[in-house]
Symmetry: C2
Subunit: 573 residues, 2 copies
Amino acid sequence: KTVTQTMNKIPRKVVVFDCRLENGDAIEKVLDIQGMEFSEFLRTVTKEFTISSEETFVLLTTDRREIDLDRFEELKDGNTLHLLRSVDQVLSVSTKERILFLPHYDTLIKSGMYEYYASEGQKSLPYAFAELIDNALSATSKNVGVRKIDIRLMFDESQGKPAVVVLDNGSGMTSKQLNNWAVYRLSKFSRESSAFESDHTAYVRPAPVPRSLNSDISYFGVGGKQAAFYIGQATRMITKPAGSMDVHELLLSKEEFEKKEKNKEDIYKGFILNRKPGDSSHVTSEDERFLHSLIAEETEEDHFTAVVLTGVQPEHIAFLRADFHLWTRELAHVYHYYVHGIKGNDMRPSTVDIDTTGNIDIRICLFEKLKIPRIVDLRDIINDMQTLYINSSVDSFEFKAQVDEEGTAEGILRYHPFLYDRETFPEDPYAIPSLLADDEEDCVIVNQEGRGKKPIFECFWNGRLIPYTTVAEFDWCARPKKSGPVPAECYKRISGVLFTNDKFQVSTNKLTFMDLELRLKDKETIFTRIVNGQEQRVKIHKEFTQWLKDCHEKWDKQIKFLGFNGTMTRTDV
Amino acid sequence: KTVTQTMNKIPRKVVVFDCRLENGDAIEKVLDIQGMEFSEFLRTVTKEFTISSEETFVLLTTDRREIDLDRFEELKDGNTLHLLRSVDQVLSVSTKERILFLPHYDTLIKSGMYEYYASEGQKSLPYAFAELIDNALSATSKNVGVRKIDIRLMFDESQGKPAVVVLDNGSGMTSKQLNNWAVYRLSKFSRESSAFESDHTAYVRPAPVPRSLNSDISYFGVGGKQAAFYIGQATRMITKPAGSMDVHELLLSKEEFEKKEKNKEDIYKGFILNRKPGDSSHVTSEDERFLHSLIAEETEEDHFTAVVLTGVQPEHIAFLRADFHLWTRELAHVYHYYVHGIKGNDMRPSTVDIDTTGNIDIRICLFEKLKIPRIVDLRDIINDMQTLYINSSVDSFEFKAQVDEEGTAEGILRYHPFLYDRETFPEDPYAIPSLLADDEEDCVIVNQEGRGKKPIFECFWNGRLIPYTTVAEFDWCARPKKSGPVPAECYKRISGVLFTNDKFQVSTNKLTFMDLELRLKDKETIFTRIVNGQEQRVKIHKEFTQWLKDCHEKWDKQIKFLGFNGTMTRTDV
Ligand SMILES: Nc1ncnc2c1ncn2[C@@H]1O[C@H](COP(=O)(O)OP(=O)(O)OP(=O)(O)O)[C@@H](O)[C@H]1O
Ligand SMILES: Nc1ncnc2c1ncn2[C@@H]1O[C@H](COP(=O)(O)OP(=O)(O)OP(=O)(O)O)[C@@H](O)[C@H]1O
Ligand SMILES: [Mg+2]
Ligand SMILES: [Mg+2]
């Protein structure tokens, strides 16, 4: 028996503190109980702590359970025991019990599960995809040519179990960077990029750019993992860094974690597969047949990253299929200004086409068995709200809000005029009806239309929509309590956008700003008007009111019946 | 030199893969380079992989950096190297590079930082406190006598640096449970409560109780840590479990984590201090003088837990001081039904006082130097919104919503009548003015008052308010599009509360429900009316409308001027 137990390599040591004394320090000894029997253990304790045969003693766990034969068998490596005279002897000397408190692996695999929540009837899945697009945008920011981001929904059963692939032709990751990717909460601010001190490159905050479209959309070191495990049960990262000959691949899965826990293996140990591009010989499962063709593509790109998600929740698959037009439109909204550039998606022929963007291709492809793939480029979506706002507006008012030293928000207000017989303020064609429920019927309605009760501003952080935070208005653009020089209804004809830099903070799920409104509405905030890109220190309230008045006078076209001459009866009928 | 290096115990082994072959498996060897010089290392490699003297070879990191003298010195334990013929030899055989991806310690210390966000101008700090109260409520749920929860703000500089203490007389924790407390994401569903298999007690879901006031308000295994490190930089847990003689104490701090990282020590190793109650001999810092009296109190209670937070952010201290009435009121709102019982805080003399609760004392105490402590019991707060709703209502309508098999939500609607010259629907005395901004002025106002645009329902999960989720209305209690038997304004005279059980999910920060509204508004949801505690399968819409009509007829008292007799001129003036 002893022989087999010593062959069993799992260590089994316990720490025993002698707490029989009334003062002083408890003496601590580490005893190796590997292969020991209980009686032998008791003898060892007697000897190690020189307990005479007259003395009585007990061995207790730190929650005062007495170690008997059964409990002794159950003792685990690292357990701490107290040696006392009796079960109820007061612990006059204190002991330091060593503990390990590794985060549970749910830290990774459940990180997103309770993070992406539904708001205003919006399903939350698009915002998980957004995290993966964020990463791809960051990774492609230094691309020389076109920046390609593909979301592929591999729902063709003949190619394996359902999978989601997010592919970009960005910088890729070295194996060290891929290792870092897996480290939960390791952010760009505290990351070592290389094993060698000499190669360390600290994070450099990008220089300010218009609309903060800096592609620097990562912050916490959690987004990719949260999103991946929200969408599926396993994540395979495949990446090839620029200038490298090798591909690095890392697989994390719920199944693996559970297996490691069961076998009492180290939870956070894993391995990266280093291999040559195009080599899919390690893929043997029929469930992942699609991987062979994906890996075959590797030889076409110098650098890339593919995030392959499997074990996709069935309800996600159903939603992605059925509501394809809805969630792709939502993504077009989130990345509107990345896809279309600082002017946004202005489709009006009058507009001089200065192509300031142009090189970010975000494509969504849905593959199903025996069906023609459904492919949409976010750039081609023309019914997202920003596109509707831009194309129905006739004039805009640009401004900047400066908060503290470094917090800047650029803002645009757009005017949607009244034309002949109707408001042109766009309605969301897909708004949830119940939320549009009109409860103003107990008013005699003068102007039910325009923006209605909606907040004015949608808010973008580093150029990316933060979907659940809006700003209703600022003092200076709110309709005054007393009627002023501009008709009240004109205040309902404006929509707005705010673009903040990273000095405004967002929550880890990037669904909300932490305190945007509180900070913008601080008394110290300085608002300036921007005209032709130039900041003007003016009275923003006066400027705005004047602009609104001008808009009204220039653009609102009402059919008015003037010069009422009395009732006439046509004689010719 | 060799001697000192061998004495230095830090292991230094590297893994070398022979990738020179064109196919087959790469041969892997672990080489101990402790104390080796570069030339010696090269010799070892030559020997181990039997490289003949004619052959050329290179040793590269997995990102293809060549190991030279300098890089060799920088190699760390566990690094993986590729042995190749030349720097650009294709990796024909793949290698498995072992990696470690322990979550960064920011997982714990930044867990709450970007979680508790401001919404509608509400500061988020009260919701961090709520997490600690949640834990205390859970811990005291089996108390026989009174359940005491104290929040003490120790802002008296003469007693040490500012600290926040949350103290409860609940079950306390064994050292194993305290160890588990520190394990991020270890939830009650996957926890081992004892070191011994035989003692395992799996989580038992509490039986249904009215309003789901089951005190079972923990779910994710993150709340306490998130809240603690949102409030401060260090958390000291001091606890004594029922029936134990010993106190267990665990200190986690940002400082400790940083130190461990710097010294390359195991990040998630720590120790629990086991000691006798009242023994504060380990507290030596002047900054924590207040701990001595706190620890002295230990001998008074059989079981308790104290969460001691230090390194409290200065802006939190300012807020807690200045807005004391605001955040204590917010907590009174969050725990309204725990503190006052299922009927809530009904202060009207007419009410028969069946004391169904009564034994949860949540007290907030603010200690400042040379000032009389400010102490408030949440039960004594009478201006929280639920108290205002309850006491201004004249009638209520109870119902239940059954979603799926197990999801139940109890609901109450309350009627706030029009009395003589005004609506009695309570206004929030502390509402942020900008959000009350009235933009209905372009209507000819018939009824501006009552609930206005606010959603009807506040929502409680296991009896605890989830502050940022509201439900506007249900079909059956919304004002109909066409005028019906009840005047339209009556629909603005109702407030509501929903109490869900844990089968509705909340986000990890407990600020929002995941999908409450989506699920409640599902076609399959069954609404029943509750009369005297009995469920009645009725047409909820009809019942509600009848109830509303009755309320209107019975309670609304308008001064009407009837029988106009023409204008009279007083002759006596
Ligand atoms: N597509 C990609 N290409 C290259 N590197 C990537 C890619 N996706 C992730 N990474 C790397 O992995 C890191 C971790 O990604 P993850 O999204 O989990 O966190 P993050 O982006 O750092 O922060 P956030 O929580 O804000 O998303 C990134 O910072 C980046 O270095
Ligand atoms: N005051 C307390 N008294 C006794 N046990 C406590 C106390 N506070 C925390 N614990 C224990 O520590 C565990 C972890 O607490 P924590 O708040 O971090 O997570 P949780 O309550 O399990 O889940 P949630 O994320 O929903 O809060 C609790 O489940 C409980 O067992
Ligand atoms: Mg990211
Ligand atoms: Mg908790």
